[in-house]
């Protein structure tokens, strides 16, 4: 236990946490937009998978990380359009269409991987960028200011999302459409258009989450690379009470629990590994029960909008 308390280990835990939190932040903040506008997109994991593949494949074949990232974002956008078409235009049950999207992403990424790559390959992903001066700060420097560009983006996205939701005209529209679509409609806002936008924004960010896995953190692609991270991201949105700062708290909590349990094992603390790996999930469930607050849940979440139904 003594080993656990050293500065070195603490810094290691926090450093791992920052890395693990990156895809969660992208995906969960994106999902926050979609859900604020009243659409639950359960297909996040599928979008992440297909985007992760696209980013990896394009980077592998072109050698350009920028092109890889762009490919991931475009795949995200396409998947977002698909999801909005099915759930907004066709008004299909959101849960089912989201799961459908997930299955599509899972199967498609696996198939393309098999056909186009087929084996374990790696790329040189985004390298950590040390921010001058800040990265030399004791303790926090190595933790916060020596990350890759996507991690910086993910963390900057938290205040950006807050600003967008709370301060901008678009934020007002998103909330109105998610809380009372009839009210938005009655003042001339196109509910469909706003929902399309929200779902697509979310999907593009899920694409970024996929890219952050395959070309920044892991630098490879495997079948089911995300291993359900997209679903955890959806849960983090509930956890965070549909607020960016809450999502940040949830992503950090989940990630720190994971990195903590890894360190506990590495340092040989006498805890059965099966208990250690449960820790993040147990902690998340506990935190959810303690903080469960549906007061902020968008009232029209999961409900397709039909004019004149009231």
């Amino acid at each position: 236990m003594k080993g656990l308390l050293s500065w070195n280990v603490l810094s290691g835990i926090l450093n791992t946490m920052i890395g693990l939190a990156t895809p969660f932040l992208f995906a969960a903040l994106g999902e926050t937009f979609a859900q604020t506008a009243g659409v639950v997109n359960l297909g996040v994991d599928g979008i992440m998978l297909l985007s992760a593949f696209a980013a990896f494949y394009v980077t592998l074949s072109s050698g350009s990380l920028a092109l890889g990232l762009l490919a991931a974002l475009l795949v995200g956008l396409a998947m977002g359009l698909l999801m909005s078409f099915v759930s907004v235009t066709l008004k299909a049950e959101q849960g089912v269409s989201g799961i459908g999207l997930y299955m599509f992403g899972l199967g498609m990424s696996s198939l393309l991987f098999k056909v186009l790559i087929g084996t374990v390959k790696t790329v040189d992903g985004f390298k950590p960028i040390a921010i001058p001066l800040l990265s030399n700060l004791p303790f926090v420097g190595p933790i916060l200011f020596r990350a890759n560009i996507l991690t910086y983006c993910a963390f900057l996205l938290v205040p950006a999302s807050w600003w967008l939701l709370e301060k901008t005209n678009l934020g007002l529209k998103l909330k109105a459409v998610g809380q009372n679509p009839a009210a938005a409609d009655s003042v001339g806002i196109s509910v469909s258009r706003v929902r399309y936008l929200a779902v697509c924004m979310g999907a593009v960010l899920a694409g970024a989450a996929g890219a952050s896995l395959s070309i920044a953190q892991l630098n490879l692609f495997q079948d089911n690379l995300t291993a359900g991270q997209g679903f955890i991201a959806v849960a983090l949105v509930y956890f965070g009470g549909w607020r960016p700062v809450g999502v940040l708290a949830g992503a950090l909590l989940f990630s720190v629990a994971n990195s903590f349990q890894l360190w506990v094992q590495v340092l040989g603390v006498k805890v059965p590994s099966s208990l250690a790996v449960m820790l993040p999930y147990v902690l998340t469930i506990l935190a959810l029960t303690v903080t469960a607050n549906r007061a902020r849940q968008p009232a029209a979440l999961n409900k397709p909008f039909e004019r004149g139904e009231s």
Binding site: K167, N169, L172, A182, A184, S186, V187, G188, S310
Partner: protein
């Protein structure tokens, strides 16, 4: 001065004469409007009168661009216009205040008003401009609103004010108000009418949708009556009277209710020191004492949210009391379950009829037997006696004139009035000793309301005790032998039917006159 100039510049021109010609609108299975003609002149209050389901809201939603007419045309100042969405109607200077307010509860008042407006500070939401202009509007029309409050914090009356301010802010010259008084106290209605008059004086025209005759007579210049989707006729208010309008609305004579004088008999319900918590964990009932005797209707009057719902739920056994006793026919039923209370002779007509009184997806017949499916005369062993059940259901439907295509129709497709009649039929068929009726005619048409009132009076004559909880003061005053006024969980006063004026009761309801 400068802001005022900006305000008038931003406002669209007030529409002049608005005319709807031969409007036809069909929904699957329903012809909601057929060949309806309707017009409004500038500076006029035009009431649109009709029962629920007569097609009033449908007609107005077409004027507001929410629906498009199947046939017919809409003219503004003589020019045909077609509105494909509310945005088009708003641009043409038309505003609408819906029965269910079109407000987003989690946004502030200012944000709600800014919603859908072009922002002057894009991409930021422009609430600054809202603040400046609303100040002028508030001055001009006497409409005070707290711009920084969240909508969920506001009372219903305040929310309605926000809706009116919002419509004015958007520059509406013609405002459609869909049943605006349904949720207000008498005082609030008076205030609203004052606002109406100021708006008309400023040159606005109003369309006032209602089924309440008294209000129509009080505020409108002209009235058009709709019945079954057709315009029955238009009258100047000065040239018509109540009876004529009722006749136009219902299609037949409706006799005024005249409860016979009766001696109240033995105690049916006795409530002593009843206390209970509300949904938010605060005390909603703070010591209620009340008695209802045989052959008596006791009305509970009060502004919504003063403990009426909790009282009804406590009596029905759906909410636990924290203190006090409830006796039915002298027997303490405080700890009894809902079923035991029904067996002891209580009938309950709930406020949320689709939540607590019936199951919308079930058929009419199944709803009749929600409680009684296990009664001996409807079952043989564990099997239901289909024929006996069919006959019983058919009899009730006939007797209470419930309009339904068949016994197997899902209940939710019936109108509010018919659903309520069915629930009442079910409850009364058990010959109860006490009826607890919570908002029995809310959202129910005039004909059905009259019928339900008749039923309650008949029950009274048959010796049943009736506790009538209603936010409609006219209803309370028409039926009750005694009126108990509830305010913040306490009965602040009990008056005999004819001994108190509306104003006195209204003051008690607002906690002043007690």
């Amino acid at each position: 001065m400068e802001t005022k100039a900006a305000a008038s510049k931003a406002a669209p021109a007030k529409p002049g004469r608005v005319e709807m010609r031969d409007i036809v609108k069909c929904f699957p299975g329903v012809r909601a409007n057929s060949q309806v003609c309707f017009d409004v002149s500038p500076g006029e209050v035009h009431a649109l009168l009709g029962e629920n389901g007569a097609g009033k809201s449908t007609l107005m939603r077409q004027l507001y661009g929410m629906y498009q007419p199947d046939e017919g045309e809409i003219l503004i100042d003589g020019l045909p216009r077609s509105f494909r969405s509310p945005a088009d109607a708003i641009r043409a200077g038309i505003g609408m205040i819906h029965q269910h307010f079109m407000l987003v509860p989690t946004l502030t008042v200012a944000q709600n008003i800014a919603l859908g407006e072009r922002s002057g500070r894009w991409p930021l939401a422009d609430t600054k401009r809202v603040v400046a202009r609303v100040r002028d509007l508030a001055e001009e029309y006497g409409l005070a609103v707290d711009l920084d409050a969240y909508v969920w914090q506001l009372s219903v009356g305040e929310q309605q004010r926000v809706e009116i301010v919002k419509a004015l802010y958007k520059g509406a010259g013609l405002i459609i108000l869909d049943e605006p008084t349904a949720v207000l106290t008498p005082q609030e209605v008076d205030d609203l009418f004052v606002t109406f008059r100021r708006m008309v004086a400023e040159g606005h025209s109003l369309i006032f949708i209602s089924h309440k005759l008294g209000e129509v007579m009080a505020i409108a210049d002209r009235v058009t009556v709709l019945r079954d989707g057709q315009a029955v006729g238009s009258r100047m208010i000065s040239e018509t009277n109540r009876d004529e309008l009722v006749h136009m609305m219902v299609g037949r004579e409706i006799k005024q209710l005249e409860p016979r004088a009766l001696e109240a008999g033995a105690s049916r319900l006795r409530i002593q020191g009843l206390r209970a918590l509300g949904d938010r964990g605060t005390e909603a009932l703070c010591g209620i004492d009340l008695e209802v005797r045989s052959g008596e209707i006791v009305g509970i009057a009060g502004v919504s949210g003063n403990g009426q719902r909790e009282l009804a739920e406590c009596l029905a056994g759906m909410r636990a009391a924290s203190a006090g006793t409830v006796c039915l026919n002298g027997r303490d039923i405080g700890a009894a379950s809902l079923n035991e209370r029904v067996d002891a002779g209580m009938a309950y007509v709930p406020e949320e009829r689709m939540r607590d009184g019936a199951i919308g997806e079930f058929s009419v017949k199944e709803n009749v037997f929600l409680h009684d499916h296990a009664a001996r005369r409807f079952r043989r062993g564990i099997f239901m006696k289909a024929r006996a059940m069919n006959e019983h259901a058919a009899e009730l439907v006939r007797e209470f004139s419930v309009k339904t295509p068949s016994l197997d129709t899902p209940l939710k497709t019936l109108s509010g009035g018919n659903i309520q009649k069915l629930i009442l039929a079910r409850e009364l068929s058990r010959s109860p000793a006490l009826i607890v009726a919570a908002q029995p005619t809310r959202g129910v048409d005039v004909g059905s309301t009259w019928y339900i009132h008749q039923c309650l009076l008949q029950q009274r004559e048959a010796g049943t005790g009736v506790l009538l909880i209603s936010e409609d003061l006219d209803e309370i005053r028409a039926l009750s032998d005694r009126i108990a006024v509830i305010y913040e969980g306490v009965i602040v006063g009990i008056v005999e039917r004819d001994s108190a004026s509306v104003q006195e009761i209204g003051l008690m309801m607002s906690g002043v006159g007690a």
